[in-house]
């Protein structure tokens, strides 16, 4: 594997794993919700960049970029929707 791709992949996996463990450790649901963002907005693009560097420009790279962009766009939407649920629960 390309060393650049390996580094990007390792950092991406570390971010995703750290976020998952952080979400597991966090007691408050609002704090736990914040740990979702690094997975979609940081780890996803890092892994996608690793795919692009490793595979080179081609259909695999284009699809990986599409996956990463969709993940980065939909992640915050889901986080906001869940946050609104928490607010509604608090008001009840």
């Amino acid at each position: 594997m390309n060393p650049v791709a390996a580094t990007l992949l390792a950092v991406g996996v570390a971010v995703a794993v750290g976020s998952a463990v952080g979400a597991l450790v966090a007691r408050d649901l609002r704090v736990r919700l914040h740990f979702l963002t690094p997975v979609t907005s940081l780890a996803g693009p890092l892994v996608g960049a690793a795919v692009v560097v490793d595979a080179g420009l081609g259909s695999a790279a284009v699809q990986a970029v599409l996956v990463v962009v969709l993940l980065a766009v939909t992640g915050p939407v889901l986080t906001v929707a869940t946050g609104r649920l928490l607010v509604a629960q608090d008001r009840r």
């Binding site: 594997m1 390996a6 992949l9 390792a10 991406g12 996996v13 995703a16 794993v17 976020s19 998952a20 463990v21 979400a23 597991l24 649901l29 736990r32 919700l33 740990f35 979702l36 997975v39 979609t40 780890a43 996803g44 892994v47 996608g48 690793a50 795919v51 490793d54 595979a55 081609g58 259909s59 695999a60 699809q63 990986a64 599409l66 996956v67 969709l70 993940l71 939909t74 992640g75 939407v77 889901l78 986080t79 929707a81 869940t82 609104r84 649920l85 928490l86 509604a88 629960q89 009840r92």
Partner: protein, 85 residues
């Protein structure tokens, strides 16, 4: 074992494990957070597995999962919102 397979295995054990735990405990919203974490992590796992297999056409699997996971989770938020009204 290639780096991609090792990354996929690491994400499955240390990433999906906590997500499964969170998705199985607490109230409905707490479980939903676990589902969201699990969906995002599974997309990364499938990206790594597709690259490990070396077949470009397999990239369609994480692509479909992103869309379906988004739609499915939004349905859950709508149903739970109706419950909290």
């Amino acid at each position: 074992m290639t780096g991609w397979l090792f990354a996929a295995l690491t994400l499955m054990v240390v990433g999906l494990g906590p997500a499964l735990w969170l998705g199985a405990r607490g109230d409905a919203i707490a479980r939903l957070v676990g589902l969201e974490l699990g969906g995002a992590t599974t997309v990364l796992v499938l990206l790594a597995l597709s690259q490990a297999a070396g077949q470009a056409q397999l990239m369609i699997v994480p692509l479909v999962l992103v869309v379906l996971s988004f739609a499915g989770t939004l349905v859950f938020t709508r149903l739970l919102a109706a419950r909290h009204r």
